[in-house]
């Protein structure tokens, strides 16, 4: 088994003390930001990009992955104890989890979430080990036109297919693509959309965009609609231990949640919301006591929690093997690779197997650390929720400003931060998704480069884009994914009209 050999070598790297330390810092930070409302793993990785610039690539990437996994664990704690999920991926967990906490069963709810996350995270990471080398084998033969087609699929599915409105999702994506145009064109040296501002020649800094959208935008949005009631933190009552009945009701939802989460995360479909809600709906339908749903059914916590962790692991498959980010955090991790001049993809598996397999192996370690951090120590994390909101958001903005200046010390950059903050605020207020903007900024220039390379090889003949069966198929999929939501919506409207 090639994959197992590589994994063992990776384990040797991940188990080095310095990398264990990075993993520990990552999972601690990840759990913290997952627990705290208003700050998530994507923002954290963005803030850390300038700080980690001078560190060892393997170590920082291990830390970023720990933050991603930790964020998924921490989000569930907040969802269960105060019904305001830190992450959209924890929305489904809040439905039943908060009811359980109110009924004095917060302990078992937290336990099934943590153990379910561990089971799902471990199984899904094993999925990466077996799926990644196989995908790499396929991807090694990809030409630039295939990559371009693949990115078209990712663009469409991330923005249009699964959101609440394809027009809004595509608008977000196009804002990101527009920002990606800013700066000097790498192939010809022409400045585009820089308007004579020298700071814009290097392009829009990923950190500035992500921090503006996620931190400043979120702070503006929450402050503007703050109603003056305090949120109620449910104390953790009841033993953390699950009863035999809790176990027997949890293990099947864990496995089913993993089966939903991993493939949906691994497809360039993006987002952990879909598998969590699919899992919730399935558990509700299969439950022996469906009447308990809505009053605190443990299946409704176990399934979605497993699904969101499995999908986080799933998104690492296209990220590592194809360089394709399908969630905001994955997009920030891609930016993390790029800052070291590394390009995830089949070549990275060949050239830096130590780094890739060290990263994958460290995911198993991070998962084990998270189980320990989240079960016995859950009381510590709950205390974080006691930080008064004004200080929490003020602190977030201080670090946002610091991350931005550290990335590029200039007043122009800080002004961009404020502008992106207003953009993030307006997008939240008018219900436009945020992640496609980040994906567009990071992936847009890559897609353009692949397109131009493909056309150069084909001496300018646009038919080169559909000559390889792979790219033709992928472009068809992209087209279907683009048109399908409009057609389905039109059919729904037609039906609705007939019902009158």
């Amino acid at each position: 088994m090639d994959a197992l050999n590589s994994l063992l070598q990776g384990l040797a790297i991940a188990a080095q003390p310095i990398n264990l330390l990075y993993a520990l810092i990552g999972v601690l930070l990840g759990t913290t930001v997952g627990v705290l409302p208003g700050i998530g793993p994507a923002l954290t990785v963005a803030l850390l990009l300038p700080v980690t610039f001078k560190l060892d690539p393997a170590g920082s990437l291990i830390m970023f992955a720990g933050i991603y996994y930790g964020g998924m664990y921490g989000g569930s704690t907040t969802a269960i104890l105060i019904n305001t999920p830190g992450e959209s991926a924890s929305l489904a967990t809040a439905l039943e989890g908060n009811k359980m906490a109110k009924a004095g069963r917060g302990g078992p709810a937290l336990a099934t979430a943590a153990i379910g996350s561990f089971v799902a995270g471990t199984l899904a990471t094993a999925g990466i080990v077996f799926l990644a080398p196989w995908l790499v084998e396929i991807a090694i033969n990809f030409g630039p036109e295939d990559y371009f087609a693949l990115m078209c699929v990712a663009f469409i599915t991330v923005s249009a297919t699964f959101g609440s409105s394809p027009v809004r999702g595509l608008t977000s994506l196009l804002i990101g693509l527009t920002l990606g145009l800013v700066g000097i064109d790498k192939l010809t040296g022409q400045a585009r959309l820089a308007f004579g501002v020298p700071e814009l020649l290097d392009g829009v800094e990923v950190t500035t965009l992500a921090v503006g959208l996620f931190a400043v935008g979120e702070a503006l949005y929450v402050a503007s609609r703050r109603n003056h009631q305090e949120e109620r933190v449910e104390p953790v009552r009841g033993s953390l231990w699950m009863t035999a009945q809790d176990w027997s009701r949890s293990w099947k939802p864990w496995l089913r949640g993993t089966l939903f989460g991993f493939p949906i995360g691994a497809l360039p479909a993006g987002g952990a919301e879909i598998p969590t809600f699919l899992s919730y709906a399935t558990e509700r339908r299969l439950a022996k006591h469906p009447e308990e749903f809505g009053k605190g059914a443990i299946e409704g916590v176990a399934g979605p929690e497993a699904a969101n962790n499995a999908s986080a692991a799933g998104t690492l498959v296209p990220l590592l093997t194809l360089g394709l980010p399908t969630s905001a955090t994955a997009a920030m991790m891609l930016a993390g690779f790029q800052q070291y001049g590394l390009n995830p993809g089949p070549l990275l598996f060949a050239e830096r197997p130590d780094l890739v397999w060290g990263l994958i192996a460290s995911l198993f370690i991070a998962n084990a650390m998270l189980l320990v951090l989240n079960l016995p120590l859950v009381g510590l994390w709950v205390r974080l929720l006691a930080i008064p909101r004004p200080w929490l958001y003020a602190g977030i903005l201080v670090f946002a400003a610091m991350g931005t200046i550290a990335a590029k010390p200039s007043v122009v950059e800080l002004s961009l931060l404020a502008v992106f903050g207003v953009l993030g605020f307006l997008m939240r207020r008018f219900d436009y998704p945020i992640a496609p903007v980040v994906v567009g900024l990071i992936l847009g220039p890559v897609a353009e480069a692949q397109l131009r390379r493909a056309l150069q090889i084909g001496l300018g003949d646009p038919l080169v884009l559909v000559q390889s069966p792979m790219s033709a198929t992928l472009l068809c999929i992209a087209l279907i994914a683009l048109v399908a939501p409009f057609v389905l919506k039109g059919m729904a409207r037609f039906k609705a009209d007939r019902d009158y």
Binding site: L170, L174, L451
Partner: protein
């Protein structure tokens, strides 16, 4: 998400459509100013043209959404909070731009944001912000050798 089509077009949505159209026009204008020798394949102009065309299409799409008032209901908004946070950011930019340094600038941002979230004790918040900024400066600028803007205060450290 539930949206109920209303009778009146959504003014905010109309504005968004107009801004998208304007953005498309700016990209077109900027791209036509590029001076290029002809090359094989597509040059740096193709992608901007494609993006501008897509933006114009989406401006139409958003216009239709706004016309049908197909936007979610918006909650009433607290303008004071927004003015305070943006004011804090402007103060941050001004202090750093004028060479005041990282620590005072972020202390002001901290106090302004806390005030936006309903805190009234400005002096205490300024002090907390100052302490936080000092700690962050010592950790990141001194220990991790990050370059943060220095003013008179930072040079003393």
């Amino acid at each position: 998400m539930q949206t109920t089509p209303a009778d009146r077009p959504d003014a905010g949505g109309m504005a968004i459509a107009a801004v998208l159209l304007l953005l498309a026009a700016v990209i077109l204008w900027d791209t036509t100013t590029l001076q290029l020798a002809p090359t094989y394949g597509v040059g740096p102009k193709a992608m901007p043209y494609a993006v501008a065309a897509a933006l114009a299409l989406l401006a139409v799409g958003n216009f239709v959404l706004a016309w049908r008032a197909d936007f979610p209901a918006r909650e009433p908004l607290d303008p004071r909070a927004i003015v305070l946070i943006l004011g804090g950011l402007v103060a941050l930019i001004a202090i750093i731009g004028l060479g005041g340094g990282f620590i005072p600038a972020t202390a002001v941002l901290f106090a302004a944001t806390a005030a936006a979230f309903g805190r009234r004790a400005v002096h205490i918040d300024l002090a907390i912000g100052f302490a936080l900024a000092l700690a962050a400066y010592l950790l990141f600028a001194k220990l991790l050798a990050l370059s943060l803007p220095a003013g008179p205060l930072e040079r003393l450290l």
